[in-house]
Amino acid sequence: MEAGSRAERPVGSGLPSWALGLIPLLLIAVAIGTFAALGGPGLGDRNGPPVEEVSVESTVLHPGQIELTLQNDGPDPVEIAQVAVNDGFAPFTADGGREIGRLGSTTLDITYPWIEGEAYDIFILTAVGGTITAEIPVAAETPEADLDFYGLMALLGIYVGVIPVSLGMLWLPFLRRLGSQWMAALLAFTVGLLAFLAIDATLEGLEIAAEAPAAFGGASLVFAGALVAYLVLAGIDAWLERRAERATAAPDATQGGASDVGVAGVAAGGAYLSLLVAIGIGLHNLGEGLAIGTSYATGALALGAFLVVGFAIHNTTEGLAIVAPLRKGGGEGERGLGLWRLLGLGVIAGAPAILGAWIGASAFNPSLAALLFGVGVGAIARVIVQIAPSMRDEHGRLLYPATVAGMLVGIAALYLTGLLVTV
């Protein structure tokens, strides 16, 4: 080794390691700078006309007024020249200017006497004669984002989120009297329910991502969100476990066997698992809130009692899922989980519906929504992985009649109650 390095010394072996790390970075910066300063030598001019990709981020309707927020999603700047509503040019002003730079946005304020209940096709002419189209399937006035409105959305969120989830949690005392077979089935019910939610949230996220500008990632936002959420939660789990190990290491060192970690973790953290389930369901309910909020804002939602009752029944099952992990800890000092903490779990799982309704009805951003749906999926996936070990029977099997039945019932419960709440 010594002889070899003397014969042909590796490049830079005389430099400190920080310099070795920094030099390539500097060279990359210089190369990019030079390339840009010379205007991309050798690449020549663009082949063909500029690419115009503009997406319509939001549509707001006030009497005699249509407001469109546009986002430039393409590589070139786009200049808005004229706007036509239902094949008629209409006067407008552009709040963010007529020229939209890459990833920039502007809001067009179009003067047009639209009529409630009619459909509108809008085309926007760019300076080079290209068209951007927007559609208003059913025109209805966008609710003013005033106190009344936020109050209404909050009430709605409480109706469909907090109350039913909390009611579902009232099954806890009953669960505590069930046998271990029943407990496993119940956890399986939670897993089935969560799996259904994960699938549902993925599809919903992808659907929303399709409307979002591709430049921000589109569908990949959903998967990135899921991955990030999963990894972050896994990291937190590992950190908590290590802390728990350290705490238990001194009194009982032999308990820390590798095979026991999962079970020990679950045993120590029935409350923690419940919290995770509540967070996962909370993110799902954020999505539900978004759906309610946007539907309400676009006038597509009839706030009938039927819808509220449907959501309530649907979400009650979610409450049951939250308290299911607590049942296991029932006999092991978990009685300390008082009413307030239970209520806290209910709020964590249910209140995001309020937030979602607010966001959905006022500042809906499809990219952000897609990311949030992804985060929800990741959280749910992590929760399923966490719960699964405690479903194992004495032979270590995961799938046996009780758990399979539990999962099927969980899926069926969400599917069937979901039929009540098609927004």
């Binding site: 009497p63 005699g64 200049e79 808005i80 020249a81 004229q82 706007v83 036509a84 094949d87 008629g88 040019f89 209409a90 006067p91 407008f92 002003t93 007529r98 003067t111 047009y112 006497p113 009529i115 409630e116 085309f123 002419l125 760019t126 300076a127 080079v128 004669g129 290209g130 068209t131 006035e141 609710p143 003013e144 009344d148 209404l152 706030l303």
Partner: protein, 382 residues
């Protein structure tokens, strides 16, 4: 939920109010004469609005469809102005042949040129003599016409005249290439020669395939042959009804008379009162099967193709398919601004709308204009 329903109630009332304001000018044939608010006031109080006809539009209210008010087309950069095109007749150069007959000659150059067809919207047009529509060629029945066509465009073109002539002079690709005619390649030239016949209002256009694209790009113009004995003196206007498919999807985004959408809204066509006005109307609109012309507050005599000196009807609306054309003759009995537009209302709202301005527009008030049509105060029952 209670506050929500109240809110909807309010908005619905507001909407109804707005609709009423809009329907007033339409109902009395006064489009554009009053703005939305004073329209509502008229309906209830009978008060006169004294604003000029275009004010409401300029203020951004919705009286009729229109462009964003903050910019107009740069006619200097376009190299032509639709207001000037109206009365711009190209008589060419004439000399008398030994036979005594008049020879009339023109030189027409095809060129590719970017033009602004609506404020801020540019279009890669193909032009005759740098303008769309091309020059209005005007001759007299029986003359010998010679049109030297030089193709300065990057694409092959021809000039195909509607008229009576030989096959070689038809501007038809595939016919007469061996004699220098047919399809004229870039950089080449050809001289069309034929008799001015028959009298009427005709057109010329490029006939190279794909035909729709070559016409839609702007290669067309009006071609007028006056009868030997001439026509009664009049204020004469050329109106070529066209449109532009700016995104090349086979549908027009902008409709117009003489190229620039809504141009005659911004610059109403000034015409005399109680004098004969003659309109040479040509429809070259591509991609749509029919076009139409309608005038407010007046009727005109309709001479289809202008080939007869007798009108076939007295009307206020006609329709034309592509290449159909007509002479319209009318007199304006009252001062004021009178809208004209395609009564294919979609085209009207996409640019094919304008105003005639008769007399001194400052004399006009909405009340005065209203009295022309209605003796009764507003809201009174007959």
């Amino acid at each position: 939920m209670a506050p929500d329903s109240t809110k909807n109630g309010i908005s619905r009332r507001r909407l109804l109010g707005g609709a009423a304001a809009l329907s007033v000018p339409a109902a009395i044939g006064l489009n554009g004469l009053v703005n939305g608010n004073s329209g509502a006031a008229l309906a209830t109080n009978g008060e006169a609005a004294t604003e000029s006809p275009l004010q409401g539009h300029e203020h951004g209210g919705f009286i009729h469809a229109g462009f964003a008010p903050d910019r107009v087309v740069d006619h200097d950069r376009n190299g032509f102005n639709p207001t000037e095109i109206l009365r711009d007749f190209d008589y060419g150069k004439t000399r008398r042949l030994p036979s005594g007959r008049v020879l009339r000659e023109w030189e027409i150059v095809a060129a590719d040129r970017e033009i602004e067809v609506a404020p801020g919207v540019s279009y890669e047009a193909w032009t005759y003599n740098g303008r769309v529509p091309g020059p209005t060629l005007r001759a007299r029945e029986g003359e010998l016409l010679r049109i030297k066509f030089i193709n300065g465009s990057e694409h092959p073109h021809t000039m195909h005249f509607h008229g009576v002539h030989t096959a070689l002079m038809d501007g038809m690709p595939g016919i007469g290439e061996d004699r220098g005619g047919g399809q004229i390649e870039p950089g080449e030239a050809f001289t069309y020669e034929f008799d001015a016949s028959p009298f009427g209002v005709h057109l010329y256009h490029c006939h190279v395939a794909p035909l729709a694209a070559h016409i839609a790009r702007g290669l067309y113009g009006a071609f007028i042959i006056d009868p030997k004995e001439g026509r009664p003196e009049a204020d004469e206007l050329v109106m070529v009804m066209n449109g532009f498919d700016t995104n090349f999807d086979g549908e027009n985004e902008v409709y117009a008379v003489n190229t620039v959408g809504f141009h005659y809204i911004n610059e109403p066509i000034a015409v005399p009162r109680d004098e004969l006005v003659r309109i040479y109307l040509v429809n070259v609109l591509e991609y749509d099967p029919v076009n139409s012309f309608h005038i407010h507050g007046n009727f005109f005599h309709h001479y289809p193709t202008g080939t007869s000196l007798k009108p076939i009807e007295f009307t206020d609306t006609i329709i034309q398919g592509q290449a159909q054309r007509a002479i319209l003759e009318l007199e304006f009995p009252f001062d004021g601004d009178y809208m004209f537009h395609a009564h294919v209302t979609e085209f009207a709202e996409l640019g094919w709308t304008g105003f005639f301005r008769v007399g001194d527009p400052s004399k006009l008030t909405a009340a005065a204009a209203a009295s022309m049509y209605c003796d009764l105060p507003w809201g009174a029952k007959a």
